[in-house]
Symmetry: C3
Subunit: 339 residues, 3 copies
Amino acid sequence: MVLTLAQLAEELGAELRGDGATEISGLGTLRGATAQQLTFLANPRYRAYLEQTAAAAVLCTADQAEDCPVAALVVADPYQAFARISHHFDTTPAPLREVHPRAVIAADAVIEDNVSIGPNAVIGAGVRLKAGAVVMANAVIGDGSEVGEQARIYPNVTIYHGVIIGPRTIIHAGSVIGSDGFGFAFNEGRWNKVAQVGGVRIGADVDIGANVTIDRGAIEDTVIGNGVILDDQVHLAHNVVVGDHTAMAGKVGVSGSTRIGSYCMIGGAVGIAGHLEIGDRVVVLGMTLVSRSLTEPGTYGSALPADRQDRWRRNTARFRHLDELYRRVRKLEQDAGRG
Amino acid sequence: MVLTLAQLAEELGAELRGDGATEISGLGTLRGATAQQLTFLANPRYRAYLEQTAAAAVLCTADQAEDCPVAALVVADPYQAFARISHHFDTTPAPLREVHPRAVIAADAVIEDNVSIGPNAVIGAGVRLKAGAVVMANAVIGDGSEVGEQARIYPNVTIYHGVIIGPRTIIHAGSVIGSDGFGFAFNEGRWNKVAQVGGVRIGADVDIGANVTIDRGAIEDTVIGNGVILDDQVHLAHNVVVGDHTAMAGKVGVSGSTRIGSYCMIGGAVGIAGHLEIGDRVVVLGMTLVSRSLTEPGTYGSALPADRQDRWRRNTARFRHLDELYRRVRKLEQDAGRG
Amino acid sequence: MVLTLAQLAEELGAELRGDGATEISGLGTLRGATAQQLTFLANPRYRAYLEQTAAAAVLCTADQAEDCPVAALVVADPYQAFARISHHFDTTPAPLREVHPRAVIAADAVIEDNVSIGPNAVIGAGVRLKAGAVVMANAVIGDGSEVGEQARIYPNVTIYHGVIIGPRTIIHAGSVIGSDGFGFAFNEGRWNKVAQVGGVRIGADVDIGANVTIDRGAIEDTVIGNGVILDDQVHLAHNVVVGDHTAMAGKVGVSGSTRIGSYCMIGGAVGIAGHLEIGDRVVVLGMTLVSRSLTEPGTYGSALPADRQDRWRRNTARFRHLDELYRRVRKLEQDAGRG
């Protein structure tokens, strides 16, 4: 793909400062871009690299463009503009829009127009693959499940039975959707499995990373809203509900029946206990333990940051006696007549 | 599946309060159940929903039945009764009890009666699939491994060589059993791999979630007892031993050679260091770091819970000086004549 | 495989104390080894088992050999010697050095000499499998990727397009290399995906565990150096750079664009935030949160260790007021005339 700066400026509604005939054939970073590549400046910490860039052009704000040594595409939100342009240079192979002869497809599955099915993909009974859906090599779609229009299921994904996936949703390799929730009743010395009769419903424009697990509901469905983005190795237990446009970074785990609002941002490796309510626009910092409901918008944290081993050891040893320390301070205050 | 309340009462030995001819065709929650569905009341926090339920009938205790506006099946343990009944309404497709023509099976593999093998499943040399075992699509069973009677291996699971899986054990999609333990000897600036010559032995009636990893032993086997339940994304390193009926929630990680007793309950995302002994009936709360052996039954925790960002920042900054604070309090006490 | 003690002594340059004709047919632990097995003593905590061992022979130091009741192979570094010997007794099935007829291989893929490709493996367009490479059953190699000489890709692994894997590198089952990085630009109430146009480059002699995820770069590549070892369920986000011979235990997560030096050792379930610099020879203890760059070699920790639930509850409740406690102590000091 080769585009001129004039074409890109027009697409973005950007002000072009430079030669519109300059051809762009790829993307680069401020530091690494070559004279055929477009780059952008969004993170202020990289501003110092602007003046040395060897890119063909830089997506930046009007203010930044003053210091830009090469052509500039002036926009209000450079990262947003870059996101839009980036797809022209995407290297992801286009789906072949064919059903590979080595796919295994149940006789009653419904395969709509322009569907791609890769080799060794297995499509169960009663499945519906809607128009333009892509199911890649070695993925498995369980009985009665549905893959929405233009949705893309990467290799080695397993979708169980009774899962509904919305249009344009992407599920990366190795993820598992609809496995049994962790439901057991303890009786007479053993765990008796509770059949998990709910399903999973995933909305439109959802992006699910690699090796994610989303369990089916115990009775009702596990539900993922529209526009949700989940990074690799996220785990959502049975009957979790995730509101629209919520983002979860890698390795987040959410326990059963917790409901998370819309526009939340959950940091990496956060753990959220079960049966909680997390409101809209809640931000949780990385590695936080959420053990109570968070109904107020705001930012929450709990993890201690790394420290030198010697100091960490001394402080954690003292932590075991923190309550006692409080009592000792209280006693000192009382003795000083301030009790 | 449709059952009458009279049939369900008889199966459970429950006292029926209501019309035995009422037909049940599904399961619901107290709030969501329709007039064709059975529900249950176990968690006291849902008691308030009992009076508004529109279910056909409710599994509950005699005491709760007083307030039940619809038919009641009176039992001592409603959740246990629900667990038992739930399987009548399970939506999981029944195995086809056939070997799919697209399975790839080594000439010397032993396939017993009523085994199901899905398309593209790969069964290695010398494997034994015992009576009624189910190996689903795209799963791989390594050379010489054994899958027990009625055990079920979901799609895209990888079982390495030399793994023994007990009867009725379930392994959900994407899990990997028997990959190499993380054993390396550091020498002359590089990590030299130690061959992992042990295997994995998994007992009867074990339930393993999706995308779990259980490594093979370095020399002797990694061993999972009977009736163990492991949620999604659990990781057990080489030579871990897990006692019977122990439960681990999602994302638990256990390092090498640690031995865990029976009837333990390990919360989500707990990390357990290597070479430890965890006794029977130990309960560990979510996200706890277990870095020493826990030989006494009891409940253990370590993680700090989420707090507002501003307070969390102030408190974690102070934590770096906690040992110093102790010394200052000690000095105050000494000055006050209480040293 | 059967070897005599004389053969082993010669291979290792070890001093043999005992009968060189003794035959070794396997490996055992100090406690469990039989009279046909070799064992070793490396961890001092197992020294007490030396005197009761029933092994055929023990790899140990000269000092330890004094107490050895059976034959000894005296070496400077018993674990290193064991690592070397262990491969003679490896039970991992040897690759068949054949292309299985049920593999699916693009017409323009380049398959060099002695390559093994398992059933249902899918090899994309333009892929190069170098001499002796092994791609096992149901693995998928994306378009244009390259698998190095003698590298081994276990079953159900997914390699995306544009991934370079070095010689002798091992990737265990279920791992995903080259899935999209978690890059989105938020605009007008939704997350807009940024095409991830970088790739992944993995060096030589790397060992990657099961169900690991390594995302492709946003613009430039994600890079894993030579000799790196990653345990199961590690997650490396886009544009992470890992230096040579760094080791990461199970469940480590590293956020985007963080650069980690050489010879680091990162403990289990450590979380490292994005855009950080971790220097060479940094050691991070299990479950630590790394939220700032660590440029000095040394050992770092942050997690609190498990405590009894009652004490844990009391202390964590006090932690919420730690800053206040500091202020109260300061006040006491001031009142005492030490402000």
